[in-house]
Amino acid sequence: MSLNTVSILDGNAFVVSDRRGDIDASPVDAQGLFLDDTRFLSRWILTVNGLRPSVLSVDEQEYFQVQFFEAVTTGTIYVDSHLSVARKRAVGKGFHEEILLENHDKEAIDLDVKLDAGCDFADLFEVKDKLAKAGQLYTKTTNDRLTLGYKREDFVRETYISASQKADISEDGLHFHVHLPPRTSWTVSLDVQASARATGDVPMRSKANVDAWVAAAPRLVCSWEPLQQIYRRSLVDMAALRFRTGVTAGALPAAGLPWFMAVFGRDSLITSFQAMPFAPELASSTLRTLALFQGRVEDPFRDEEPGKILHELRLGEMTAFEQRPQSPYYGAADSTMLFLIVLEEYVRWTGDRALAKELEREARAAVAWIDRYGDRDHDGFVEYKRGNDQTGLDNQCWKDSWNSIAFADGTIAPLPRATCELQGYVYDAKLRTARLAREVWNDPAWAKELEAQAVELKKRFNQEFWIPERNFFALALDGQKRKVDSLTSNIGHLLWSGIADDDKAASCVKHLMSDALFSGWGIRTMASSENSYNPIGYHVGTVWPHDNSFIAWGLRQAGYRAEAARISRAMLEAANLFGGRLPEAFGGYPRSETHYPVEYPTACSPQAWATGAPLLLIRSLLGLESDGAHLIVDPAIPEPLGRIELLDIPGCWGRMDAFGRARAAD
């Protein structure tokens, strides 16, 4: 997000304005009121006697509420600062705004207060890609309401604007004539309401709701003060990103502001995993929702296949008219495995076997998808190639930008692509599903079969992905089964899944901690030694906090305590320098060259799995694990993080505390 914009959000409703509070959308400035992937207001400009007030300060009180303090400071009628303006705005199903004008002068004044309003009803994809509209815009006015509308066949969206004070309402907006005696003030409340939502989402906005959410999470006490702030920021941002579909109970994390306030399979699952020791209910809602939309048929336009877990669900016009496939779109090769992984993690952490029983069919369908559709050519590895050549995703792994899967010389790998972390996820998913089959579904024969498949996969993976001359695993096998030989962060995910043989894992750890991959702030997505490396390339050199949180977690699980601690510390120090909120990604420049991590220009913030990264890092530092009955604590905390206490950790044990402090060995 631009530093010159202010955003407030609630679920998938959000308002992006300039620092005055005005909305003036343009091709280069994606401002507006957005809801259900549609812009419901693109113009909202306050003038007082034809002047736009100057901003004095912006008070971002809560994630859903902001206050702008301004003054009318120029012109020939008024002396500087005799007229102040305060605009208080809260987002919900639209937004509510209170405008307060205060006359600080000894003289009375007459004011023309005007709010210009307009809307282009752009689909979020149209905003992003600057596309033209296909339907008709219209406006309607009555004595007390302005309606801005858009119609394309049976797709109708409307915005209703009304005020608490009498106004002249025209197609362009609202006009108030105000007489202000000396030392008096005038207030108007404005309601901007978006028309009924397709999903029936329930806004969750309230300070009490946020406070309750934070209070329900474990309490953190630590000697390194910034961690307290980072932790609270993560919890509050996670609260902001909660999203209700209106179909399933509970809330799941949306992916990120501004472009990804929607259900995403991969993002919601990864975030749910990160938040497991803190808010396991997110996993439950995520699993239920994704199960509901699990693929049923073969549909190349949506890349849908039976058993596949969705990638993205959108609610805008282009989706409604099938100009885009997100209804839902299934172009993710990893979300199905992640679904199984999170299901087992959730059950082991919470003891909620009922959910595993409820989702047994979906889990079996997911495993069937891996074997039948995920492994497209039946070579034993999962690979991807889109069915939708027009608007589908080329890369269906988490590094989904076009140039992320490249050879060391920079050549883009031909499709289909079998990236290494996908194989790790399959391995992990099958072992975890085997555990559920044995312990919950009473199917030991299937458990044995899954375990045997996992063992075979591990054996073949270590043979066929290993690059002996470079001593790390290939990023992928390409369409011709060649090893894509770039050194990337993907190898870190192999530690998390456990698919790497011990000796090969050790070699990968050396690479991960080398100067080529570890910038000092975190592990880069691609090593600086590779030809495609670009420190501000989206997936070819930037540092992604969520990636690092899983690498740190994998290092802990593989026994590399000091390395995990080093990455955790670096990432938390970066978070501190970002004001407690890690962005989606930041520059891969070496720490030796920058005192601050370099911002990535279009990073989402807050973004769900970046918000979840500090949570998984804390889990990693304390070595928190569940054996299905007890909380296991095995801290590995570096100086200067000192002492960390996490109190009232929820799980199948009820609530438990964990303590850890730095030791010389760590």
Partner: protein
């Protein structure tokens, strides 16, 4: 021209009004079928089987859609429920989670895929 008949779908069929629906395995419930204000029967789901009833005991969820043809498309598993909702062509009341499960489940194989409704082929 869309058929706007108010005749129950259960009685307007030639061919099966019940049968196996693999995508409905594990689901039990009843969905009232309506076009606007007109009730056109109940879809009774019982663990992998689906049956069209003229009416009967209380329902768990009600599907209200714009047209009879759209309703028939849903029963045949030919309509994407998400698109239907986005274009305001239909909505669910009551247990919406069950409703979505049923409508999605029918897409995986509907016993009504070959059923003639109102004397018309699919």
């Amino acid at each position: 021209m869309e058929n706007q008949s108010g005749e129950s779908l259960a009685t307007a069929t030639e061919g099966p009004a019940e049968g196996e629906a693999p995508g409905l395995a594990g689901l039990v419930g009843r969905m009232r079928l309506m076009v606007g204000d007109t009730a056109l029967g109940v879809l009774a789901v019982d663990n992998g089987r689906a049956k069209l009833d003229p009416d009967g005991p209380p329902v768990d969820v009600t599907a209200v859609v714009r047209s009879r043809d759209l309703l028939i498309g849903l029963l045949r598993g030919q309509v994407n429920p998400v698109l239907m909702a986005l274009r305001a062509q239909g909505r669910l009341h009551g247990d919406r989670e069950l409703g979505v499960k049923i409508l999605y489940g029918l897409r995986a194989g509907s016993p009504f895929a070959q059923t003639q409704f109102d004397g018309k082929d699919r």
